[in-house]
Symmetry: C2
Subunit: 558 residues, 2 copies
C-alpha cells in the first residue's frame, strides 16, 4: 500500500495550500486538494487509464494518502464535469467516507450518481449551475459556464482571504456551441478586474496551434455522409458526447433514418441526457435494437461505443463479426471521435477489419467528423489576456502540454517566476495573492485490478512486463539438505518461453549436479539452494537461447 | 514450426505465378515470389516489427515455407531499396541457401552486405542501376529510378511471355529531390505504351489526400531552428535517411556548427553513404563524440537515432539522463521523422522527459520537420494515368491502405474486377496478361526471439499476454496417489499477481482437502489431480480477487 506522507498539518491561518494529487504530467485522474484554515476542498476526482507498460491494470486512481487521515475535514468535492478523468475515482473516495458532499451541475451529478449506484453508494449532493455562488467554510465558490465535449461543464472560482483562484476544468471556447451555452468570458473578465491571484487553465491542447473549430462543423458532414450512404450507417463516438449524438440524431432525422443506441454506456448516458433535457430526441427517431434489425438498411443509423478500438466494445465486435449486426459491403462506419494516443494500433485494427468486410470507413483522417473539446493555443491566449492573472498553474496534461501552456502565459506578458509547471504532489502555498512552492509529497499510482485497489505494486507490474517479454521457467525440487541429493524433481514448468518442454532435458542433470556440488561445499540453507538453481538455469537459458525469462526456483527439504 | 503448404508445383508453362509472402495487410516484411517455367524470382525480403500484442518478439519474418523445398530454383532476390522492411529478412533466407544472388542498387547492396556480415554471410551480388536490363531465365528485368526516403531506390519491371509486371517498390514522386534523381515517369510511360499487364504500386500513403511535399522544404526549417538555437542541437531521425542527414549537415555548416553522429546504426549507415558518395559531407564539419563534447554548446549538432522513442536508443537515454550528453535548459531537440503508429506513447514519453529537462522540442506536430517517403493519393493518380495498367495489385500496406489504393485505381477508370486486394499467401496466376486468383496458402508469422527463429508460437504469445495481464500462480504438491494425502507442499509461488504471499494461506487447506476428496472419489492419475488443484485455486482467485491469473499446478507422486 501507499506510504506517502500526509498533507503537512499546522498551516498558517490565511494561507491557502494547494496540492494536485493527479492530472499533472499525465492526461487523467484530475484531482486537486485545497486547504485553508483547517478545512479541505477537493476539485475533481478522476481516473487515469493505463498505458501498455501497466498491463492488466483496469484503472489508476489518484493517491489519496495525503488526505486519508483528514477526510473529516473535507467540506466537499467540486466536480467540474462528468468525464471519467474527472469523476471516475469518486466511488473510491466515497468508500473511505461516503457522506462527502458532491457539488456539480445537473448532468455531472446525474452521471456520477449513476456510477455510484453501481458501487452501492447514494451520495450527498448539491446541484449548482453557472452564476451560482456558495460559501463553504473559508472557501467562497462561484461557478462559471464553460463549454467542452460534454454539456454542463463548469469552471470554478475559489475566493478566500488568500486571493482568488480560477480553475477552468476542461474547456474550450466554441463561440457557436450547439446548446448556445458559451464559455462565460464576461465572468472571466469580471474576475480578472477583481484580480485573479492564481489561474489554473486546462493544458490538453496548449501545443495545438490556432483555434478548435466549432462543433457545428460536424453536423453538415455527418448529414452529407448519411445522405450518400447506400446501406446501414454505424457511428461510433464517446458515450458522453451528447452534442455529437445530437448531431447524429438530427442528421438521421433529416435523411428519414431511425437511430438505435448500442452499447451499455451509450444507452445509459443518453437516457440520462434525454431525461434531463440535454439531448433533444426528435419525435419517433429512436428505436430499440430489435426494431432496428427489421428496418431496411438505408433507414437506420446505429450509434455505438468503441471509437477507441476497445476490443470488447460494439465496434470492435462488429469488425470481428462477433456482433448481431453483421457488417458487409455498402455499410458505412463513421468514427466521430479523436484518436487517443496509444490507441492507434487498436483503432487501425478495427478500421482494417471493417474495410475487409467491405464497409466504407470515415474517420477524422479522411473527413471533418471530429473536433476537440479543449481550447487550443489561440483560445488560451484570449483567456490569459482577459483574466490577466498574477500567477499561473497549468493543469491537465503531460509535461509537454504544461510547458506549452506556460509558454503561452509568458508570451502574454506574465513573468516566468509567476508560472508554475509542477508535478502531482507539489505543495503550493498562496498568501495575499503570492504563490510559492513549499514542498513535494511523494505520491504513487494506485492501481485498480479486478476487485483490488492498491494491491498491485510497481514490482508486480515489473514482473508482468518481464513475463510478457520472456515468459517464465519454474523449477521445483525437493532435496536432502545434508547431501544435496534430489529426492523429488526437478520438475520444470515453462510458459511463454517455448512450447516444447523437451528442451529442458538438457538442464535437469545440471541442476541435480549443481545442488549436489553446493551441498558438498557446505550449503545447507534452502534459500541458498534456490539461488544455485536460479543461477544454473539462468546460465543455461542465456547461453542456449539468448533469452532472459523469469526463473522461479522452489527448493524444499524432503 | 510452420506447416504451410509448399507452392503448388506443376504450373502450366507460360503462366506467371505470383505469391506475396509478406507486406499485404501489414506494414513490413515485404516479399513477393514470382514463378515461371519452374524458376523462382523473389522481390524484397523484409522484416516486420512486432506490435504490443506480440510481446518479447524481436522481429517477424515472412513465412518461407512455400519456397523452403524449392530454394534451388530461386534465380535471385531483387531488393528494391535498403530499408529493413525490404532487406531485413535476407540473412534468414540466406541461412537456408547462402548463394542465392542478391540484385540491387549500390547503396542497397552495401547496406544488406553490412547486415549479412554481422551474420557471417558473404553474399553473391549483382549491382544494378536505373536503366539496366537483365535476363534471368524466363524473367526479363528492367530497373527504374524511383525516389523514396532512402537514396538509390528502384522499381522493377518483370517482362515475360505472360506479360509485363511493374513493381514500384516503395516510392514517392518528389519533383525536386535533393539528389535530382526523380521517379522516372518517362519509363513508366514507355512501359505503359508497351502495355503493363499487372501494376503493383506502394499503398502506404494511398489514404493520404494530395501530394507529399518535397524533401527540400525541410532544409530551411532545420536551418532556421538551428540558427535560433541558443545551445546544443540534437536532431533525431531514421538512420538510413541520407537526405535528411544531408540537410542537417548543410544547416549545421551554414550556422558554423560541427556535426557528430550518435548511435551505432547512424554511424554505420552514414559511413557507408559517405563512402559511396550518397552523402556529401562538407569539409571539416564532422567530429567524433570526444571532440564534440569539448565544443561550445552553440557550435555543435548531434545527429542521433531514437526518433521512435526506442528505449535503448540515444534519444530516449538522453531523456532519462542516462547518456553522456546531459540535456539541459536551452538545448533544442528536433525529431525530424514520422511517428509510426503504435510508437506514440513511447515518443511522447521521450518528449516529456526532454521538456522536463528544459529542452525545446521541435517535432512534426509543431514544425515542418518531416515529409513522408511514400506517394500520396494525388501522386498515385498520376501513376495510374501514366501507366494505364490492365490489372492492379496494391501492395505494401494494411487492408485500409490497400482498399484506398484500389479505390484510386477504380477512379482512374480501371474496372473493379481487374483490381486485386488480396492477402499474404494468395496465389495469383497471370497468362497472356490475364490475372486470376488461383488459391490461398495458409501462412504464419515467423517470430525471431533472441537466437531462436520460428520457435515462439502463437500459443506462447497468448501465454505471454495472459501473464502480462494477470501474472501467474504456480502450485507444487507431492501426494500419495492412493490416499490423496499431501506429502510435500502445497508450495505456492506467484508473480505479477500480488506481492504479499500471505494471501495464499487461505487456499492451501482448500487444496489439501480437494486432493484428499478427489482420491476418496477414485482419482488416481496425476493429470486429474492437477486439474483438481487448478480448479480449486481458480475458483478461489476468481471469488476472492475477481482475477484470472495463469494457474500452473504441478502434482507429482511421492
Amino acid at each position: 500500500m501507499n506510504s506517502a506522507p500526509a498533507l503537512p498539518g499546522q498551516l498558517e491561518p490565511g494561507t491557502l495550500r494547494l496540492v494536485p494529487l493527479g492530472g499533472l504530467g499525465e492526461v487523467g485522474r484530475n484531482m486537486t486538494v485545497f486547504e485553508l484554515n483547517g478545512k479541505l476542498l477537493i476539485v475533481d476526482c478522476g481516473v487515469l487509464f493505463p498505458e501498455e507498460h501497466q498491463p492488466g491494470v483496469d484503472l489508476i486512481l489518484p493517491d489519496f494518502s495525503p488526505i486519508r487521515e483528514r477526510l473529516d475535514q473535507v467540506l466537499a468535492v467540486v466536480l467540474t464535469h462528468g468525464h471519467e478523468d474527472h469523476i471516475g475515482a469518486v466511488p473510491y473516495l466515497l468508500r473511505l467516507r461516503d457522506d462527502i458532499p458532491l457539488i456539480g451541475s445537473g448532468l455531472t451529478l446525474a452521471l456520477v450518481e449513476a456510477k455510484l449506484k453501481e458501487h452501492g453508494i447514494s451520495p450527498m449532493t448539491l446541484e449548482v449551475s453557472e452564476g451560482r455562488r456558495e460559501q463553504l467554510g473559508p472557501f467562497g465558490l462561484e461557478f462559471i459556464a464553460v463549454n467542452h465535449s460534454i454539456p454542463d461543464a463548469l469552471a470554478v472560482a475559489i475566493r478566500s482571504e488568500a486571493g482568488i483562484v480560477l480553475h477552468t476544468g476542461d474547456f474550450k471556447m466554441d463561440q457557436l456551441p450547439l446548446d448556445d451555452r458559451i464559455t462565460d468570458l464576461r465572468a472571466f473578465a469580471r474576475l480578472g478586474e477583481e484580480g485573479v491571484s492564481l489561474f489554473m487553465p486546462d493544458s490538453t491542447n496548449a501545443d495545438v496551434p490556432g483555434f478548435t473549430p466549432t462543433e457545428r462543423t460536424i453536423g453538415p458532414v455527418l448529414e452529407n455522409v448519411i445522405a450518400k450512404a447506400p446501406r446501414r450507417v454505424i457511428v461510433a463516438s464517446f458515450s458522453s458526447h451528447v452534442h455529437r449524438v445530437q448531431q447524429v440524431l438530427d442528421a438521421a432525422q433529416a435523411n428519414g433514418r431511425k437511430v438505435c443506441f448500442m452499447g451499455r454506456s451509450m444507452v445509459r448516458n443518453m437516457t440520462i441526457a434525454a431525461d434531463l433535457g440535454y439531448l433533444k430526441v426528435p419525435e419517433g427517431v429512436l428505436v430499440e435494437v430489435k426494431k432496428a434489425m427489421t428496418l431496411p438498411d438505408d433507414k437506420v443509423v446505429f450509434m455505438s461505443t468503441g471509437s477507441q478500438g476497445e476490443p470488447m466494445a460494439v465496434l470492435a465486435r462488429m469488425a470481428n463479426l462477433d456482433h448481431q449486426i453483421e457488417i458487409g459491403r455498402g455499410d458505412t462506419v463513421i468514427l466521430a471521435s479523436s484518436l487517443i494516443p496509444g490507441n492507434e494500433n487498436a483503432v487501425y485494427r478495427v478500421i482494417n477489419g471493417l474495410a475487409k468486410l467491405g464497409a466504407t470507413v470515415i474517420h477524422k483522417g479522411n473527413a471533418q467528423v471530429h473536433v476537440s473539446g479543449h481550447a487550443a493555443s489561440g483560445e488560451l491566449l484570449y483567456c490569459y489576456n482577459i483574466v490577466k492573472p498574477k500567477n499561473v498553474l497549468p493543469i491537465h496534461g503531460e509535461y509537454r502540454h504544461l510547458t506549452s501552456n506556460q509558454a503561452l502565459a509568458i508570451e502574454t506578458g506574465i513573468s516566468e517566476e509567476h508560472t508554475f509547471v509542477v508535478e502531482n504532489g507539489t505543495v503550493l502555498d498562496m498568501k495575499l495573492g503570492e504563490v510559492r512552492i513549499s514542498g513535494q509529497l511523494e505520491l504513487g499510482h494506485v492501481y485498480v485490478d479486478g476487485s483490488t485497489v492498491g494491491e498491485i505494486t510497481e514490482a508486480d507490474l515489473k514482473d508482468r512486463r518481464i513475463l510478457a517479454e520472456e515468459g517464465f521457467i519454474s523449477i521445483f525440487v525437493a532435496i536432502d539438505p545434508q547431501t544435496g541429493k534430489t529426492i523429488v524433481g526437478p520438475e520444470i514448468q515453462a510458459r511463454g518461453f517455448a512450447e516444447d518442454e523437451s528442451v529442458f532435458e538438457d538442464v535437469i542433470p545440471q541442476i541435480v549436479r549443481a545442488l549436489h556440488d553446493a551441498a558438498e561445499n557446505g550449503t545447507r540453507d534452502t534459500q541458498a539452494f534456490s539461488q544455485v538453481v536460479r543461477r544454473t538455469v539462468g546460465r543455461w537459458v542465456n547461453t542456449q537461447h539468448r533469452r532472459r525469462p523469469m526463473i522461479v526456483p522452489v527448493v524444499i527439504e524432503a
